[in-house]
C-alpha cells in the first residue's frame, strides 16, 4: 500500500486510489498449456465432443500406421517367406526387403543395366535445370530457361534413347520404366505445355477470328473430356492418322496425349494471368511503338507469368499426378512397375501390395507436397512484392 494515514484524513472521501495498480498475471487456468487447451480444444461442450472424436480418429489411424511402417515391418529377408504371417508367426507390417530388392526396377524399369548411368546423368541434368528455374534469385535465369526448354530436351533424348553416331546404343522405349518414365512423362508435359499453353492463351485472346476460334475449340474440347479418353485417342487413333512408316511408338503416343492435355489446362491458367494485366500496359506498349511480339515478350508475359507462377506450379502438381494414367494405356510408369512387382510370386504375401503402394505414396507425396510448398512460398513472396 502506497497511501499513508494522513492522505485519508485530509480528504475524508472513502477511498481514492492515486497510483496505478500493478498489472496482475492472468489466472493460472488461462495461461500455459492448460489455458491453451481450454481456449482451443475445450471451449464449449460441442468443442469437447469434436476434440474427443478427432483424438479417437487419430488413435485409430496413427498407431496402425506406425506399426505397419516401422514396428511390425520386416527389414531383412530373401523372399516371400520373410513377410508371411503363416511362416513368421507374428504380426507382419511392411515388407521392406521386397522394396529394397525391387528398387532398381522401380527406378529404371527394364532399362539395360550397363546403360543405367545414362539415366543417372539425365536425372542429374534435370535436377540442375529444375533448380535453376525454381530458384528465383539464381543468376542468368534466361540461360537457365534456354537450357531447360532447349538444351535439356535434346540432351535427354540423345542420352536416354541413344545415338549411334557418338557410340550410345539405342535403347527401345519399351524397356524404359519406373521413376524414369514417370519423370520423362512429367517433364515432357511440363516443357511442352508452358510454351504451347502460352500460344493457345494468346490465340484465345487474339483479335483474329479464326485464330481465336481454333484456340477456343481446342482448349474447350480437351478440357471437356477425361484424360483417359485423350490417352486412348492418342494410343489407338493417332497411329491411324499418320502414314505407316512414321507410326509413333507407344511411349511417344502417350507423351503426345499428355502434352496436349496439359497445354489446354495451362492455356487457361495463362489466360487468367493475361486478363489480370491492366489495359494500360498494352496501350502503353503499343504507344511506344512495340510490335505485337515485342509487346508480348517484353511487357505482357513477364508480368502475366509472374503472377501466375503459383497457378502454373499447381497445374504441374496435377500433371505430375496425372502421369499415373499412362498406366492405363500400358506404359510402365512407377505405378505400373509396382503393380507388376507386387504380383511377382517370389514376393507374393498379404502385405506386399500395401508395401508397394506405400512406396508410391511416399514418392508422390514428397514431390507434390514439395511443389505445393514452393507454390505457396512464391505466392507469399509475390504478395509482398505487390505492396511496394
Amino acid at each position: 500500500m502506497t497511501m499513508s494515514e494522513g492522505d485519508l484524513a485530509v480528504t475524508e472521501i472513502a477511498f481514492v486510489r492515486k497510483a496505478q495498480l500493478e498489472q496482475q498475471p492472468p489466472p493460472p487456468h488461462m495461461t500455459g498449456a492448460w489455458g491453451w487447451a481450454r481456449e482451443n480444444l475445450l471451449s464449449t461442450p460441442f468443442n469437447i465432443a469434436l476434440t474427443i472424436i478427432v483424438v479417437l480418429l487419430l488413435l485409430w489411424i496413427i498407431p496402425d500406421l506406425v506399426k505397419f511402417l516401422l514396428l511390425d515391418a520386416v527389414w531383412t529377408g530373401a523372399d516371400r517367406d520373410a513377410c508371411r504371417e503363416v511362416v513368421q508367426h507374428r504380426e507382419i507390417g511392411a515388407c521392406w526387403p521386397f522394396v529394397w530388392e525391387r528398387l532398381p526396377y522401380f527406378i529404371y524399369g527394364s532399362y539395360p543395366i550397363p546403360d543405367r548411368w545414362r539415366v543417372d546423368i539425365f536425372f542429374a541434368m534435370l535436377a540442375a535445370g529444375v533448380f535453376w528455374m525454381l530458384w528465383i534469385n539464381a543468376s542468368r535465369r534466361d540461360i537457365g530457361a534456354l537450357y531447360f526448354f532447349l538444351v535439356l530436351p535434346i540432351c535427354s533424348y540423345v542420352l536416354l534413347h541413344g545415338f549411334e553416331a557418338i557410340g550410345l546404343e539405342v535403347v527401345d522405349t519399351v524397356l524404359w520404366g519406373g521413376v524414369l518414365v514417370t519423370i520423362v512423362v512429367a517433364s515432357v508435359g511440363i516443357v511442352v505445355s508452358l510454351p504451347l499453353g502460352i500460344l493457345l492463351a494468346l490465340g484465345r485472346r487474339s483479335p483474329m477470328p479464326t485464330v481465336k476460334l481454333f484456340s477456343t475449340i481446342f482448349i474447350e474440347f480437351v478440357r471437356g473430356v477425361p484424360l483417359v479418353t485423350v490417352l486412348f485417342m492418342a494410343s489407338v487413333m493417332l497411329p491411324l492418322f499418320v502414314p505407316e512408316q512414321y507410326e509413333p511408338d507407344k511411349l511417344l503416343r502417350a507423351l503426345i496425349g499428355i502434352a496436349l492435355f496439359a497445354s489446354a489446362y495451362m492455356a487457361e491458367v495463362v489466360r487468367a494471368g493475361l486478363q489480370a494485366i491492366p489495359k494500360g500496359q498494352f496501350e502503353g506498349a503499343m504507344a511506344m511503338g512495340l510490335r505485337y511480339w515485342q509487346m508480348t515478350r517484353l511487357i505482357i508475359l513477364p508480368q502475366a507469368l509472374k503472377i501466375t507462377i503459383p497457378n502454373i506450379v499447381n497445374t504441374y502438381i496435377g500433371l505430375f499426378k496425372d502421369t499415373t494414367l499412362v498406366f492405363i494405356v500400358g506404359i510402365f510408369d512407377l505405378l505400373r512397375t509396382i503393380e507388376v512387382a507386387r504380383i511377382d510370386p517370389k514376393w507374393a504375401a498379404p502385405v506386399t501390395s500395401t508395401t508397394g503402394y506405400a512406396v508410391a505414396a511416399i514418392f508422390y507425396l514428397v514431390f507434390c507436397y514439395g511443389m505445393s510448398r514452393y507454390a505457396r512460398a512464391m505466392e507469399a513472396r509475390l504478395a509482398t512484392g505487390d505492396r511496394h
Partner: protein, 397 residues
C-alpha cells in the same frame, strides 16, 4: 498523325505486308490451310489404314450382338442377345450411377472437412488440413488401386464372410445387403412422399411471402421435416408396412439373394468421394474466407443472431464464390470416374472404349462417341453454370 490530318497530307504508303489488316488475313489463311491440311492428311491416312486392316468404318457395329458379359447391369442385358448399343447404355448408366453417388458423398465429406478447417478447435482444423494435404497430393489412381487391391481384395473369402448385424455380408467378392421388396400397397407411400415434397415447397413459398409481408417467421424446417419424412412414414404405418427385405443367404461358395455391391464399385466410389472431397474442402474454405469479416460484424450489430447471420448473410455470399469451382469439381469427379478402367468397374470407358473397341476395332467411331458423351456433359454443365453466374454476379459500377 494529327499533323497529317490537319494539313490533308495522307500518310506515307506502307508496303502491303506491313498493313495490319492484310497481315492478319494472311496469317488466318495460312492457319486455316494448315489445319485443313492436317485434317485431310489424317483422313486419308485413316481411310488407307482401315482399308488395309479390313475394318468397315461407320456405325454398323451398334446393332451387332455384343457377346460379352458385364458384371453390373442396371438395365436388362445379356451377352447372347444384347447389342453393342445396349452395352453402351449399360456403361453410361454405370458411369452416371457412380458419378451421382460420388458427388453426393464428396459434397457431404468436402463441406464437413472444409468447415472443419476453419474451426476454432485447433485439433480439428489441423486434422482437416492434414487430410486435405495428404489426399490432394496422392494420385487418384494410386488411391483407387490401394482401396481395391490392398483393402477390398484383402477381405476374407466367400466362405469366411464377415457377417454384419442386419443380414449383411462382407467379403472379397463384395458387399451383400438386404434388398427391399416392395409389396402391394407400397405405391401409396411413394405418392405420399411426392405429395409431402410438393407441400413442403408450397409451405416454404407461403412462409417466405408471409415473412416479407408481415415479418413473422414460420418453422419452415420442422414443417418440411414433418411433410417429407413424417407423412410417408405415417402412410407406411397405416398400410401395415408393405415392405419386406430379401436377405442374402450365405452358401458355401456363393451368396444368393439380396443386393450385391461390387468391390470395384465400392472402391471407385470410395476413392472418388475421398479424393474429390479434399478439393471441395478447399473450395468451401476459400468461399467462406472470401466473405469479409465486416459482413458478419455488421449483421451482429444489426442484432442478428449467429445462426441467421450465417444463413442470411455469410452463406449466400460464400455460395456465389463456391458454386462455380464446385461445379468444376463435380465435372472432374465425373471425368475421373473413367479411372474405373484400371480396377475393372464396368463404366462407359471400360465397357465401350475398352471391350467394344477391342472386339470391333472401330477405334475412330468408339473414341469419338465416348468423347462426345463427356463433352456433352461438360459443355451442358458449364453452359448452365454460366447462366447461373450471370444471374448472381455482382453488378459493379
Amino acid at each position: 498523325m494529327s499533323t497529317d490530318q490537319t494539313t490533308g497530307v495522307s500518310p506515307a504508303r506502307v508496303a502491303f505486308y506491313n498493313d495490319p489488316k492484310i497481315r492478319s488475313i494472311i496469317y488466318q489463311v495460312v492457319l486455316c490451310a494448315f489445319v485443313a491440311l492436317l485434317f485431310v492428311g489424317a483422313t486419308f491416312n485413316a481411310i488407307d489404314h482401315l482399308r488395309r486392316a479390313h475394318i468397315a468404318s461407320g456405325f454398323g457395329f451398334w446393332d451387332q450382338t455384343a457377346g460379352f458379359d458385364i458384371s453390373q447391369t442396371l438395365i436388362s442385358y445379356s451377352a447372347q442377345v444384347s447389342t453393342y448399343g445396349r452395352a453402351f447404355w449399360v456403361g453410361l448408366i454405370n458411369t452416371l450411377l457412380v458419378a451421382g453417388l460420388g458427388i453426393i458423398f464428396a459434397t457431404i465429406l468436402g463441406f464437413t472437412i472444409g468447415i472443419s478447417r476453419l474451426s476454432k478447435n485447433w485439433l480439428l482444423s489441423k486434422f482437416a488440413t492434414g487430410y486435405v494435404e495428404t489426399i490432394r497430393n496422392l494420385p487418384l489412381l494410386l488411391q483407387l488401386l490401394f482401396w481395391y487391391n490392398a483393402v477390398l481384395k484383402a477381405l476374407p473369402e466367400m466362405r469366411d464372410s464377415i457377417a454384419i448385424p442386419g443380414g449383411t455380408f462382407l467379403n472379397n467378392r463384395g458387399l451383400f445387403l438386404p434388398s427391399p421388396v416392395f409389396l402391394y400397397g407400397f405405391s401409396a407411400v411413394v405418392v405420399a412422399l411426392v405429395v409431402g415434397v410438393i407441400a413442403a415447397i408450397a409451405f416454404y413459398i407461403w412462409a417466405r411471402k408471409r415473412q416479407e409481408r408481415t415479418g413473422q417467421q414460420a418453422p419452415v424446417f420442422l414443417v418440411t421435416l414433418a411433410l417429407v419424412i413424417g407423412l410417408p412414414f405415417v402412410v407406411l404405418a397405416l398400410k401395415g408396412f408393405p415392405l419386406s427385405f430379401d436377405y442374402p443367404q450365405a452358401g458355401r461358395f456363393n451368396i444368393s439373394g439380396g443386393l450385391e455391391v461390387l468391390p470395384e464399385f465400392a472402391a471407385l466410389l470410395f476413392g472418388l468421394s475421398i479424393y474429390t472431397a479434399a478439393f471441395i474442402a478447399e473450395v468451401v474454405r476459400a468461399g467462406i474466407t472470401s466473405v469479409s469479416r465486416g459482413q458478419a460484424e455488421a449483421a451482429y450489430s444489426l442484432g442478428l443472431k449467429p445462426r441467421p447471420t450465417l444463413r442470411l448473410i455469410v452463406v449466400p455470399q460464400a455460395m456465389r464464390v463456391i458454386l462455380p469451382p464446385l461445379t468444376s469439381q463435380y465435372l472432374n469427379l465425373t471425368k475421373n470416374s473413367t479411372l474405373a478402367v484400371a480396377i475393372g468397374y464396368p463404366d462407359l470407358v471400360q465397357v465401350f472404349t475398352g471391350t467394344v473397341l477391342n472386339q470391333t476395332g472401330q477405334a475412330v467411331e468408339v473414341v469419338a462417341i465416348t468423347m462426345l458423351v463427356y463433352l456433352t456433359i461438360s459443355l451442358t454443365t458449364s453452359f448452365l453454370m454460366n447462366l447461373y453466374n450471370r444471374r448472381v454476379a455482382l453488378v459493379e459500377r
